[in-house]
Amino acid sequence: MSETTIPAPRERNEAMEALRRALAATGPLLVLLLLILILWILSPPFRSPTSLMLLALEAAAIGVVAAGQTFVILTGGIDLSVEAMVSFAGVTAAILIAGTNIAGGQIAFGIADWQAVLIAITAGLAIGMFQGLIITGMNMNPLIVTLGFRSMLLGVSLVWTRGAGINIQKGPFLNFVTSTVDLFGLRVPMPFIIVLGIYFLLWIVLKHTKFGRYTYAIGGNETATRLSGINVDRVKVFIYGISGLLAAIGGILVMARLQSGAYQNGTNMTLISVAAVVIGGTALSGGVGGIWGTLIGVFIIRVVEAGLVYMSVPSNAKEIVIGAIIVLAVALDVIRRGDVKWLRFRRART
């Protein structure tokens, strides 16, 4: 053994490894700061505190959704149903609050907004866990299961609203959720504070609980985890439950802001959430990554979007840029893994 270890090249590898890890950890943050700096220089309107606060507000709903996506991707799965869940939760809560569907037919007396929200996010949790049950119990591909649920949830939202939005009056709870808080003279949007709270909580879960450890272990090697006596299926059911729950919370944030529950509320959020997770350093194959990177990923995407607006790029062209970012993010993931032959300069590992 001792004679087979060779100190010299190994130390170099370790130094490289440390450098690589430091870059992987701070890389997204540096990119974000650089983007903000560029925008700051190029666009005077961007320099106002209001635009910064707007950025934080824009990042809130997708931030929550992407947090759930992070858990799923860490286990090596994917949840394509999140955007439909955002719409579905918003529509559900809106109908319960308004007590009416779009046809004007009274389906119930409106209930207090906090009750409606509680029902909507409980439904999100339950539907998410149900997807997890199907995926683990029937050993089905998460891609297909969540794609199917995406269709179903969008369909339900469409049927309930007949394709239009259900407008609501905010009650005290939603007023609180959409309020702002004065911090050092900045008016910080409450949704952003909620997001930070959720991220902190999830970070604790990932770092300091068994559940978090098993999340990484399943993504790293599901077979070995199962053979270590861990109930992998139960963990995965909760993972999809968390994703459903967080997507539903994201849906409430969107709905509260627009004061309307519509089936388009979640448009594009699935792709953006996956892109944010990957940009934030989580491997699409699972097992490696973290929650804070995802938040940075969300901000990177939002800053680019905002940049397009401030640079007067026609809004129709936005889709092109978002699509390109997503492809770039996945390319980044592949490059990080060292799977691209012509980009692999003399790597130590084979």
């Binding site: 270890t5 300091h208 609980t209 068994k210 272990a217 790293g220 090697n221 199962r226 053979l227 006596g229």
Partner: protein, 509 residues
Amino acid sequence: MNLLEMRGIVKSFPGVQALKSVDFDVRRGEVHALVGENGAGKSTLMKILSGVYQADAGEIIFKGQPVVFRTPRQAQDAGIVTIYQELNQVPYLSVTENIFLGSEWTRNGLLDWPAMHQEARRLLAKLHLDIDPRAPLYTLGVGQQQMVEVAKALHQKADLIIMDEPTSALSVREIEDLFAIIAELKAEGVAIIYISHHLEETFAISDRTTVLRDGRKVATRPSSELTVEQLIRLMVGRDLAEQFPKEIAPRGKEMLRVEGLRRDGKLHDISFSVHAGEILGIAGLVGAGRTELVRAIFGADPIDGGRIFVEGKEVRIRNPRDAVRHGIALLTEDRKTQGLVLLMSVRDNITLASLDRLTRGLFTSAAKEQELSNGFIQSLAIKTPNQQQLVMNLSGGNQQKIVLAKWLATHPKVLIFDEPTRGIDVGAKVEIYRLMNELARRGVAILMVSSELPEVLGMSDRIMVIHEGRVAGFLNRDEANQERIMELATGMAASEIEQSKLFEASIHE
């Protein structure tokens, strides 16, 4: 002039130096046997030669030209073809398609099937094979599939064919055929590098033998000048007693008993028991059901019948979680795909199976985890810079110790090793054996599945031989030897018993 010369080949992987300046040469028309223990560096050397890996240092001269193969394709184009241990073929394509895979003949831009089939037929005839080249490959026997690989090598006009354990799946008859063909190839000037664990084969077929040990070349000699004993000494570099430091531990109470275990099509009515302090070796041919048996006991695969008792009490094991709860642990045969989470740290891997006990309230306790893994890093002498090191960067031996630590942390009563020393270098093997001794002394019951008979003979107190999913017999340490195990493992003994019974019956009538 030598057909091939490899000089000063060095190759290291993270944590292990697999080859330390190896010289190796092959002459035209020669069969050159390459032998050594697992982990000696045979496969790495051959993978460098065939372009799968690139050497860190050293040079390769082939047909008088210095060459560098960056891909297997380049090596093939130069005339070096490898016939891999696990066949590298597409089962649902025809024989012809497999032979021509990657080098198809075309006419006017379309595949020229008549010409390809004809050429395939010519090559098969040369190998004395009566096979329809249109037949899908999966319809052939394993031996014939292997011959198709040889045909493919001929088609590629190989000057040098590397055969890595070519006989592992062949019957005696098929081995004879293969040897006849090797002799013919030799006569045509094709050189062959022959890698095998079966020393009788390498003696029968090879002109020269090169021995590798721990990544170094120990010797290259004409095969006729070597004896089996000399060869083993060169390979192992020490006596058998040093290699297997067996200590007999006092035999305690019964820890595990299995009664009538069944898994339809795989395992039939298997019963045995293991006591505290005992190492029960499980031997058998590949596919006999050894791994299936231990996986069934561990709850990794479903069973169709049978009872399992731990310390005399019947237990129900439906999944690995039940097994772990009842004090059973399994070190799987493939630690990378089934034992470890390579992307996690040493500490996280060690604590993975026992996190339940390492919590403070809702949260995992970093202090308890650190203490536990530090303890194992010291007691098992795991060589790692720190606890945070990713497991993928450690050597095979240290990885195996980490899997062992993971299980020891669960305080197992019964420890099952499936191929405990596969892919581990010689020094680390001895350390694993010493740990087995230590565990047996502490009253753990050990089941050890192994394909290496010397290991089974060297470390077991008792040996259970499995043949086609059934228990073929038990042998005590003092009555066991290679021949008796092989008799049971190949079912020869059973059929003899069968015949003698028939004979008796006929007498009585």
